[in-house]
Symmetry: C2
Subunit: 218 residues, 2 copies
């Protein structure tokens, strides 16, 4: 039996500068980590969905902030405990490394996206990634605002809206958000979506194995 903690939409889970006290797992809902510049610019670093682990940062203090995207339940373990165990237990240490490696791979990928891709490519990359991670045969349920996507892609919400329109006019994806709260999008033509990206830009992110997660959260 584990405690879960619940957060409302846009509620802060931790903030840049906070001591790293826990490692978290999303039980349900979704989380974004982001970095805010004083003038209002935001960079979203990553999204996390049910089952995924976040908040394991290398330094003693968070460099990212984390916020709930929608009503979200999370559970957590003390970082201190993780550290202690990793000191003496190799499979624990291994788990910590695995998670750090996954974050690193994601960041590597992300900076090619930010540094080299144009907006259409970025948008395609985003949908492809979401489709891999949370798509149910082509249908992606996103509860985030367009602004979140924009800040993840290093662009603006208007531009994202326009490129979704474009992809949808090309018959590649289909907008489904009839409601303002629950946004559903269907990938009609994954092949074409993939073809928008430069061939070598790929990257299936390795997901963290169940074993690693169980070890950490046991």
């Amino acid at each position: 039996m584990k405690f879960t903690y619940s957060f409302q939409r846009d509620e802060e889970i931790y903030r840049r500068g906070d001591a790293v006290a826990y490692v978290y797992q999303v039980v349900s809902g979704s989380v974004r980590i982001l970095s805010k510049l004083p003038d209002g610019r935001r960079q979203v670093g990553a999204f996390y969905f049910a089952g995924e682990i976040f908040g394991l940062e290398p330094e003693t203090h968070h460099v990212w902030s984390a916020e709930a995207i929608e009503t979200t339940a999370i559970c957590r373990v003390e970082r201190e405990k993780v550290n202690r165990k990793a000191q003496s237990n190799l499979s624990y240490a291994r788990g910590v490394l695995k998670i750090t490696e996954r974050d690193l791979l994601h960041a590597e990928d992300h900076r090619i996206l930010l540094g080299q891709l144009d907006v259409t490519e970025r948008t395609a990359a985003f949908f492809l990634q979401m489709n891999n991670r949370i798509g149910v045969n082509g249908t992606i349920e996103l509860n985030m605002r367009t602004e979140d996507i924009a800040d993840y892609l290093g662009t603006t919400l208007e531009t994202v809206s326009r490129s979704i329109t474009k992809l949808s006019q090309m018959g590649i994806v289909e907008r489904q958000w009839s409601s303002r709260i629950l946004r559903i999008l269907t990938v009609r033509n994954p092949r074409k979506l993939r073809a928008i990206l430069p061939p070598s830009y790929a990257l299936e992110l390795p997901s963290i194995s169940e074993t690693v997660i169980r070890t950490l959260f046991a």
Copy 2:
């Protein structure tokens, strides 16, 4: 006594897709890691200078390529050996984690740069970083082409040239490259250079401790 291997300017040390066979240390000279898209776009992921470690990637195959920027000497240890030792030796495992963490922190920083900063800010961030890492009281010796800087900053060489001109007109840095091969640049006003960046954008990257390096390369 350790073997060192020597590479000429622009020579490839390893290539994306190669099996990860070694972990490397720069003995002298400098190295860039980069990712090429088929259409010629390049993203430089990082630069490495004397004493620094590179090539320790999470997956079995490299996702980056590495090239010598100038005439460069490196030494290396087998990745397999590192892996084996990390399996049984906690301080070894810790060393691997430390390096992965440093790369992660750098990548985090880099994607805020790529996602949110304009070109002047990016250039300032670059010089600040170089000044921290290889500056000798304000004087930075860079043997890389403008193109390398541009591809690191996610922009073009012309744009980099223009922003250096701008910084130099503002009296913040001074170009010194009389020669085409050895480029020296002096930071005249670090405070102003810092002031170009948004306040919270900071990030002193932790350097890898001597101990960790000795452990790995012993």
